[in-house]
Symmetry: C2
Subunit: 324 residues, 2 copies
Amino acid sequence: MTKAPVTRNDVAEYAGVSTAVVSYVVNEGPRRVSPETRERVLEAIRVLGYRPNATARALRMGTTRTLGLITPDGGNPLFAELAKAIDKEAGARGYVVLQTSADGDPDTEHAKIAELLTRQVSGLVLVAPTEDPDLSDVDVPIVAINRELPAASSVRSQYREGARQGVDHLIGHGHRSVGLVIGHSRDGRPPERELGWRDALEHAGLEAGPIARTTFSRRGGYDAGRELLAATNRPTAIFASSDLQAVGVLRAIHEAGLNVPDDIAVLAFDGTAETEYSWPPLSVVRQPLEQLAHQAVTRLIDGQDAVEALTCPTDLIIRRSCGC
Amino acid sequence: MTKAPVTRNDVAEYAGVSTAVVSYVVNEGPRRVSPETRERVLEAIRVLGYRPNATARALRMGTTRTLGLITPDGGNPLFAELAKAIDKEAGARGYVVLQTSADGDPDTEHAKIAELLTRQVSGLVLVAPTEDPDLSDVDVPIVAINRELPAASSVRSQYREGARQGVDHLIGHGHRSVGLVIGHSRDGRPPERELGWRDALEHAGLEAGPIARTTFSRRGGYDAGRELLAATNRPTAIFASSDLQAVGVLRAIHEAGLNVPDDIAVLAFDGTAETEYSWPPLSVVRQPLEQLAHQAVTRLIDGQDAVEALTCPTDLIIRRSCGC
DNA sequence: TTGAAAGCGTTACCAT
DNA sequence: ATGGTAACGCTTTCAA
């Protein structure tokens, strides 16, 4: 259980070589090692159960090969799925990820960033939404996902285009009034998804339907759903800007004794696994989480200084809630 | 963006003291420092933007204050919520957590364990279910959550008692036939939750209802649900051993045009957030994730060698799917 | 109260 | 092809 750790010194001694040689065989470089010596070292490593100490290596090399990931809430399925994708990408590159939640609180996020920097992460992934943190003294590459950060690279889903495509689809079903459930604007400007919703309506010559602004949560969606249902101009379709909200909307509709999609159609943005088994299964505009993860990790590790935002197209997934 | 890192040496120089003194003030020990010197050092730290290098510290101290966490699937809400709870507990103790998924694959889990050990984690949390890994050369404390591991401490939800309580509740509603949706047995023995289900039935003098064995997934639950509905002895209530499965069961029932709970009652084990907004909201036996997390982290950090299993009681949460 | 220096496990340069 | 060794940034003992 708690044996004394085997160091590279022990291996060298056992194999009758210098520590440098052990290093050469462990790292397959930078110098060649004769086959027989190599074999001896390998044998020593096996016998002794030697495991290289990544901490010492990191100190020496100046890189931990560790990524830091901060999401607003690790318990949120969207962020959990994103995190999983990031871990997978990182793992494929020999990186490991320190994941933590900021609880949507700027101070907490700031503290977490500091902690991760102290831990010498090689790069930082910051996921929306939280207020912009102070990044002035950050000395590692950062990429923001679904979030615009001054002086940080950013990778995003095409919120606006995706939303528009989703709402277009709803309109295609003949709906003339499409309600919107969306979060509160963070920076005073209307959120991208709201813009996409407007784009679609406008293009179809329709009036903007009722809007319910609420939190990005199931509960928020539920409240918003009730609000929309109670409105004098009750919409015949609802576009929810997140899965969580959509699920809440669904509950509100069920409670009202209404049917989805016959009485009201629903379409959600995000497309986490949960939506596939809601009742009815939700048609969604799916965020390309794997792509976002891939791009983010690639940028961080390969250090494309490209600070310009990269946007990834979403995917319209048709299920039952839209009326297809 | 990429400035040269400020070391403790720079601080010492700037403050006109030795590096030892800087250490004393940063760590508030082990020696006292005169107020004015201390102030100079603090000032230097502030001006220079010095951030201690945790890697070097870890090397010197022999501990990284980092926990490793391996779940079968970080995208699974249950594990995501557990991970969040663990991160919170760890964070409160100044620890940070390296989280990764094993995809339910023993080889992957083994590889991840090796990677984390190389990273010198101070402790390892292994979450069920995967086949037992080889832990022989692990030299850090391990705690298994909801999983029995030879030579590892373990913290678990009271599966059997919780299941029994849930099924008892169903029986209390007058159900005489309670079906079971459960995973495949991993070690040949019947799973705890199945035992609990049997306990309740037996105690009530009821026959064991139909059982559908499937995967721990929404899809698995859906298939199992259809199976149970098609059975000649269709049960009037179903106990699902996980949220994911319950959600699948719900879908199968809806598709069959049946009503929950009027035609069939459903009760699930786990109690993740998703169940609160399913339709209808699921009554659940909730796993005490925060407690599990707290106990696991405490054991790891404080190193209670107590290898005996600790079990935490579950919580019966009544919502609508049981018929209350 | 403060400073010098050893040493944690590596890597890689410079010798040999 | 291999060995000796300095250095990475830090903590802490020992001396002053």
